[in-house]
Symmetry: C2
Subunit: 135 residues, 2 copies
DNA sequence: TTTTCACTTTAGAATTATTATAAACTAGAA
DNA sequence: TTCTAGTTTATAATAATTCTAAAGTGAAAA
């Protein structure tokens, strides 16, 4: 993804392309594979990659802006930290609690045959499958 | 569940039946339906029910002991707080983000037809399905 | 029954993740 | 170039949880 595309991506979602947002967006979206991270891990990786350091609050702000804009999804994982995923399509996850690692599973790789009705006046928003791993 | 059974339950899992543990166990396990709670909600409910108040650390200690003994399971839910469930059998959940409410789904009510293989040297520990609800 | 001690409880401090605040900064329109 | 709303930043505040160390207590042994 070129710099111009990053700018477009930000602008089209109402986010002013600031230096920080562009750097973080480049880091997150210029990759082949999907990327899973926490704010802490992202902060460490960014500090290592670029010489300048951003305020932690900026990482939080940016990640939340990206999520609100639909460029990141949040993954619920047992534990204290919040995980984010650059894969925003409907999909599922393996979770390896030994390494705290998430691995994407394509939506088409899980087929559910039987599913219960939503209770009372509710509707089903989406279905998330977690496959927990062991050694 | 009678007091004698609570004592058995605690003893058989290596937990000394202290006043606090017995009270909390009675509150959690003397019910028909499964019960979902956070440490905060449990603390509030306990304070209301019994006139004496336990230290918050005791609630944490006890809940974690019960979990380690297999009497409670932990449910991953998007958000900051940790949810526990008195249903320790293999099952799934509806999650209503509007009310932060969890509802059990019996394992037999969800049938998965196709599932991917575990990566590299890993094995599947268990599969958890979350059905997120909307209005 | 009394003694003893490892296990528990407790209050409060410490830690960790996250959000709020308010001042300084900046992208980009005018 | 100026102006301003939106952004970044350092720091404080909050919230959930864990740690600590002293006081308390089941229950085994004497």
């Amino acid at each position: 993804m070129k710099k111009i595309d990053i700018y477009k991506k930000l602008r089209s979602s109402g986010l002013r392309p600031t230096k920080q947002r562009v750097e973080i967006a480049k880091f997150l979206f210029e990759r082949e594979k999907t990327f899973h991270f926490t704010v802490e891990s992202l902060n460490k990786l960014l500090t290592k990659k670029i010489n300048s350091k951003f305020a932690l609050a900026t990482i939080y702000n940016t990640v939340h802006s990206f999520k609100a804009a639909g460029h990141l999804s949040e993954v619920e994982v047992r534990g204290n930290k919040t995980y984010f995923d650059t894969n925003v399509s409907n999909h599922h996850h393996f979770y390896d609690s030994e390494t705290s690692e998430l691995i994407d599973i394509d939506a088409s790789d899980i087929v559910i045959q039987k599913i219960p009705k939503a209770p009372n006046g509710k509707k089903i928003k989406n279905v998330e499958v977690f496959i927990n791993l062991k050694n």
